[in-house]
Amino acid sequence: MSEVTNILVVGIGGQGVMTAAEILAEAAISLGLDVKKTEVAGMSQRGGVVSSHVRFGKRVLSPAIAPGEADILVAFEAAEGMRWCSYLKPGGIAMVNTLRLAPPVVSLGLFDYPQDPVAEMRDAGVNVHGFDAGAIAKELGDLRLVNTVMLGAIADHLPFPADTLKRCIVDRFRARKPQLVEKNERAFEAGRAVRG
């Protein structure tokens, strides 16, 4: 099973979780690997939890990552990192955007948002790196760069060269929004710099 790499990308509907997972899958496909990607997306555009599972290797059978099997957890929101960190295998790594998005049930006072999700993960023995991807993106002039920053942050933890992933991002933007290629390259490198 060790020949299969499991990456779990999580966040909230509309944050770009599925796009990030798609780019990771494209990178693996470009290397000739077998890839499966799955998510439950039915109600996610209505503010619910989104989790996208990317598995790649020589041959991938089952599509979903099971608890205790993820090599990398990419969380676009801090509490979502907490929700999913039990999916990490021993030695797995969590890259967590420290953005805090409280759902209406928190606003209504029915539940509390955890004080410091990253610290709670660390206390639970998770190898976690928390950073403010939004601040990095803003500094580069566009909040929408968060996605690329997050991908940059895990780029050096993948079983293939970071440049493979970077090339997929660049190709994607070159085809759709060429004016954003350079910004995304910088965002990717800024993400790599915080890799932990």
Binding site: K37, V40, G47, P67, C85, Y113, G141
Partner: protein
């Protein structure tokens, strides 16, 4: 061929739904129909983008099956797709179509929402194969979804039978690598009149029954030789597995060295080959999602097997679930969990920022003495916080008939409670109209809130007869709901069309109509915020100096509003009140003004984008 379509032989990264769509097109299918439903929706969405095939959003699943079936009478290939509960609706047609059989290939894709991602129940659609004596194909990944969807048409024509392509969430929404083959072209010979075959009166139908049984026997032999049913060898013969669909992938991953009889054409089950397989292993375990169908058939044939005695009866299977369940059979202990999950607040789906339903549920939560019968769509979320303004949800269109029953069957505590049914535009057209007709005919004292947001919102915004667009986004006749309700017999004076953002007007409409002693209908007329018809307005923010912490805006339930500070105030009467000061996520706000209308302190004001934010 369309230049934008990837050519045959290209390796594509497709979801199971996309793969089925491509296969249906490549099989030369002429007519495809569906009503949207998770997890099947994307099949028809994709098909509508292909040339040279008629695709439609049907008003419900029964209609979609009948449309597809009608095409096959002419020898053309027909296809329909639905979610599991859709087949319940279509089954009235199905149970007789199985008697007539088809001429052109007829393939019915049924997608089971195993694990409840977006459904009101969990069903195993493979039962329909047993019930209707039809072959069932169960792909295990996207490539198999492609291969089996194509082959399904050939099987259908060879045996003149509809074929069920049974999918699950983990087929529909899993992307994998798929290589499509060359497209075939099929031209039907045209419809030939044949009363004995196509007019199912008792005398004719009776003649078809023996043919149906013959067909089933022939299909059983065919399944025994199908390349979709294969034994994957394994050196560890302590346990041999029989599995179909995605379950077969989980088995292979969890027990790579165990022999596996992988079933793709799982109904009629190839019992004799399974018996032969069982003889080669020490123990047999049947792994299937979700009901023990194969298991029961295998046991009935006198073959000893394990199955649901060790495996879970519900929900999705996965390799760790299998390892844990099967360990005792191997005399082993289940591996312990690697990590303990951390406790975090739940994040249930919410209504969107500025959703027109927010106004409806805010209003319903303010009117006392109501019983609210609900239906299926985004608006089912009205049952949740902060509104708690929806009391039932059962099946498509059930809101109105249930309201009639709640009115007619009042119990002691119901007194003069007012009964309201809440139903969306798509659901109303799917199966709700008959309920309203029933309410008029039987003089039920109910009020129907028809939430017309001009789309099928829950499944991602598909078009319907109320949207004014067809499946291709082209202009189409648009139903007039007020006229429709009037035609169904509702007193025109009891039909109101209201803007759900105009809270006082909506409140008065609800208050007045629930008092009327006859059926009444309130139609809300603002579009879903996710479709092009929705027009955003200037965003709002909270003026912190004016905010009194009354918390009224929180009760709207808009996800752009959050509480930044809480407190308590003791009123002159001595009563203690909770206070909540709020902020608006102005970047997300689209200026629907609902919250503004609840703010007595006039603390909700237009948002001035700061220079820095404009630059960002």
């Amino acid at each position: 061929m369309n230049a934008s379509l990837p050519a045959a032989g290209t390796r594509l990264f497709l979801s199971g739904n996309d793969a089925v769509a491509r296969a249906v097109w490549d099989a030369g299918c002429r007519v495809a129909a569906a009503y949207p439903g998770t997890p099947s929706t994307e099949i028809l969405e994709q098909l509508s983008r292909y040339p040279d095939i008629y695709a439609e959003w049907s008003v419900n699943e029964k209609v979609s099956l009948e449309v597809a079936f009608g095409a096959t009478l002419a020898g053309s290939r027909g296809f329909c797709a639905m979610k599991h509960v859709g087949m319940n609706v279509a089954s009235d047609a199905l149970m007789t179509i199985t008697l007539t059989g088809c001429v052109g290939g007829l393939v019915i894709a049924v997608a089971d929402d195993v694990g409840f991602s977006s459904s009101q129940n969990e069903q195993d659609s493979r039962y329909w194969g047993r019930f209707a004596h039809l072959p069932v194909l169960e792909p295990a990944d996207a490539q198999e979804a492609y291969d089996m969807a194509r082959e399904a048409f050939a099987i259908s024509e060879r045996f003149q039978t509809p074929v069920i392509l049974r999918l699950t969430t983990r087929i529909c929404h899993v992307k994998g690598l798929v290589t499509p083959r060359e497209r075939e072209i099929h031209v039907g010979a045209g419809f030939e009149k044949n009363t004995a075959r196509w007019v199912m009166v008792p005398a004719h139908a009776k003649q078809r029954l023996p043919l149906q049984l013959e067909r089933e026997a022939a299909l059983r032999d065919f399944a025994g030789e199908s390349p979709f049913n294969v034994v994957l060898e394994g050196s560890d013969k302590r346990i041999g597995f029989v599995a179909s669909g995605p379950a077969a992938m989980h088995v292979r991953e969890a027990f790579p060295d165990a022999p596996l009889f992988k079933l793709g054409l799982s109904c009629p089950a190839p019992i004799e080959p399974i018996r032969a397989f069982a003889a080669t292993v020490e123990k047999l375990v049947v792994v299937e999602e979700t009901e023990p169908l194969l298991e029961t058939g295998i046991k009935a044939a006198g073959i000893a097997t394990h199955g649901k005695d060790v495996l879970p009866r519900m929900g999705e299977l996965a390799p760790p679930v299998l390892r844990e369940a099967v360990a005792p059979l191997l005399g082993e202990k289940a591996p312990p969990a690697v990590r303990v999950p951390l406790r975090v607040f739940p994040r249930p789906p919410t209504m969107c920022v500025a959703c027109p339903h927010l106004g409806v549920y805010f209003t319903l939560s303010q009117v006392r003495n109501l019983s609210i019968s609900g239906d299926i769509g985004c608006y089912t979320l009205g049952a949740g916080q902060p509104w708690n303004a929806l009391d039932t949800c059962i099946s498509m269109g059930a809101s109105i008939p249930m309201a009639i029953g709640m009115d007619k069957g009042r119990g002691e505590s119901d007194g003069n409670k007012r009964i309201v049914a809440v139903i969306g535009d798509s659901t109303f057209m799917h199966m709700g109209m008959q309920g309203l007709l029933d309410a008029v005919y039987n003089r039920a004292n109910i009020t129907v809130l028809l939430l017309d947001n001009r789309t099928v919102g829950m499944t991602g915004g598909q078009d319907n007869p109320g949207s004014g667009r067809d499946i291709h986004g082209e202009g189409a006749p648009r139903i007039d709901f007020a006229k429709l309700c009037e035609a169904l017999g509702v007193n025109p004076e009891r039909i109101r069309v209201v803007d759900p953002y105009e809270l006082p007007t909506l409140f008065r409409a609800v208050r007045d109509e629930v008092k009327a002693e006859e059926p009444s209908v309130i139609i809300t007329n603002q579009p879903c915020v996710l479709i092009p018809e929705y027009k955003r307005s200037a965003a709002l923010c909270v003026d912190e100096e004016k905010c009194t912490g009354c918390g009224n805006c929180v009760d709207v339930g808009c996800p752009a509003i959050s509480v930044i500070r809480r407190g308590k105030e003791v009123k002159p009467s001595g009563r203690e009140v909770d206070l909540a000061w709020t902020r608006i996520e102005s970047v997300a706000c689209t200026g629907c003004n609902l919250c503004l209308r609840t703010c007595g302190a006039e603390a909700i004001v237009p948002w001035q984008r700061s220079a820095a934010e404009v630059q960002a």
